[in-house]
Symmetry: C2
Subunit: 397 residues, 2 copies
Amino acid sequence: MEEILAKYRIESSLSLADAAEEICKEESVGTWTELKTLEPEIQKRLSANVIELDEESKTATIAYSIDEYSHEPGGIPQLLSFVAGNLFGLSLLKHVRLVDIELPSTIVKLYQGPKFGIEGVRNLIGVKKRPLIGTIIKPKIGLSPKEQAEVFYKAARGGIDFGKDDENLVNQAFCPLLERTRQIAEAIDKVKEETGRKVYYAINVTTRADRIVEVAEDALSNGATCLMVDMLCAGYAAIRALAEDGKINVPLHIHRAGHAAFTEDPHHGITMLVLAKLARLAGGDQLHTGTVVGKMKGTKEEVIQTNDFLKNEWFGLKNVFPVASGGVHPLLIPRIVGLLGRDIVIQAGGGVHGHPGGTEAGAKALKQALDAVLQTIPLEEYAEDHKELREAVEKWK
Amino acid sequence: MEEILAKYRIESSLSLADAAEEICKEESVGTWTELKTLEPEIQKRLSANVIELDEESKTATIAYSIDEYSHEPGGIPQLLSFVAGNLFGLSLLKHVRLVDIELPSTIVKLYQGPKFGIEGVRNLIGVKKRPLIGTIIKPKIGLSPKEQAEVFYKAARGGIDFGKDDENLVNQAFCPLLERTRQIAEAIDKVKEETGRKVYYAINVTTRADRIVEVAEDALSNGATCLMVDMLCAGYAAIRALAEDGKINVPLHIHRAGHAAFTEDPHHGITMLVLAKLARLAGGDQLHTGTVVGKMKGTKEEVIQTNDFLKNEWFGLKNVFPVASGGVHPLLIPRIVGLLGRDIVIQAGGGVHGHPGGTEAGAKALKQALDAVLQTIPLEEYAEDHKELREAVEKWK
């Protein structure tokens, strides 16, 4: 029998076995008291079962019958309703953390997953092996469409591959989404003409999931080359609606604002690894997973584990480009590449637009830092002949 | 100038003022370093500002310009992207809890809110002043549509006003949603014929938000009298899509599976009060908020504060019926009504179907407990003449 496995770390005054049993009851056929309406046959067929207990790590692995999930009748929302549902609130359990989920191929194959994956994104811009570098246009909000495109143009001229809206820029009056999309598209064309390089840009189409396809299709007809969705603000359905829409033929860049409300306590909540699995099912092509070294929390172990999942085989679904973003500047590039490898999109916002020489110089410095790493030359040495990198080293050392 | 206010409780090695300033920067125009692209005019117009600091409670209130939010271009997802976005993950802040949000009328009025509210729901079934009592059909999953309806019929005959699917029952093969809806509708008609009483039942239509209207409309044409949405699993858009659909003319019952992954730590995450505000904006008519005394966490203060918000005036939006659910049985009714008042839906699952006499006896016991409270008679005394309540007292005392 195929099963969905969920691994929980539990703190409770109950024994680990009893605590795990409480989760089984709450999340499958039982409740806090015995039921007159529960026939043994149902109990046997649909009950969740503890299949492994590890006292040392305080973890229990629970198997949910695939019959319960029954070939995706409610999709990711239903999956969440039992693997990550009421259990967090049970008074009997002090803390519970959903550490990981393992889905059988029957379930994974119900999802289309990413349309592009790492190779697809690389093919789009013709960059085969090295990390991609990108920038979040700053300030986060306030620029007009023309200014936004101008900042992006400078960054692209400076050498970045990718640009994106910040998460709180959507379709405000000061920067309407479609006009911004058109201006960015022009900047992309100009960069191509002038340098022969292809660059791409994620327009933030985050909005209610029931309307997002409409917004995305409008963005596409105005020249969008990539679409950004904030997955926890908008819900996984927002990603999925775009990924499954036949007309949407650009990569989906997935942001995760708000995740740390429930991913950062090692004793409670849900790991980023689980969110990454859901984002891949839903169809994200690029996903923010952390930098280890930047301004955001996220331990080395968890970032690496999450990125490994995204890059590896998963029942035939395309893989996902991990994105390292948050407090990145040129001096961090060697450590990020050292930790996270070459299949990574490295993004710097402040670390580009905060460069003393401005955006174009900042982008050059970022690219120079990457070039130094790829040639295994120490940054300080490479900076001797590279003015922009030297200025960055001065500023951020 | 109108503003959106967000109150945070912050723990950090920084001073409260500096920590709050980090949130302002991260969530509006700034970032971790100075930007060459940030003009003073943008800073002035769009920057978030700390407007109040309370060292004792470690709280800071931050005002976000309404220009930033700009009359709902991205709706609730965009609102979340700044009031509850990246800030939780900032390395500089140890813990942050979003305690409350205050939205100006200009924003609230962009939302339709609930179609029914407390009065609308009461009118539907003709119960004016007393608490409503309901049951979650148990076992949570595994009954066939016919069995599900039979259990509900017994509960309704026993005296409950309301029934609902459990959160992990959607449209599985063992209990297809439309067949279940039809069987439940027949049970409702039968109860009406036999007793003259109107009862209602929430069919769990939770699914991806981009498809939920379709599922809901099918349920309605098969006789659904109420629809359930699991708001965190499916996203607020799932509620909103239903609430704004002109054809959907039944109340929306909102479940909150998974909320405790980020609501239960008093130092981190988001309060249930904030989620309740979003659920009301989105259009929920009934919302689970806790029992104080049942199997789920949730302090007295927070449940009362949340329920008060739901029941009170909010710029003309209809109010919301708070739902007390989770580990409820007849003996808890006096305390629940004492704590939470008469405008409440009290639900018992195990506390009905776990009664020694079975579902109908369990429902009778629940109704008897409510009758006792309404007549201000102690339960033990009332139980003397009421067999089902007496059995419940025996079992759960």
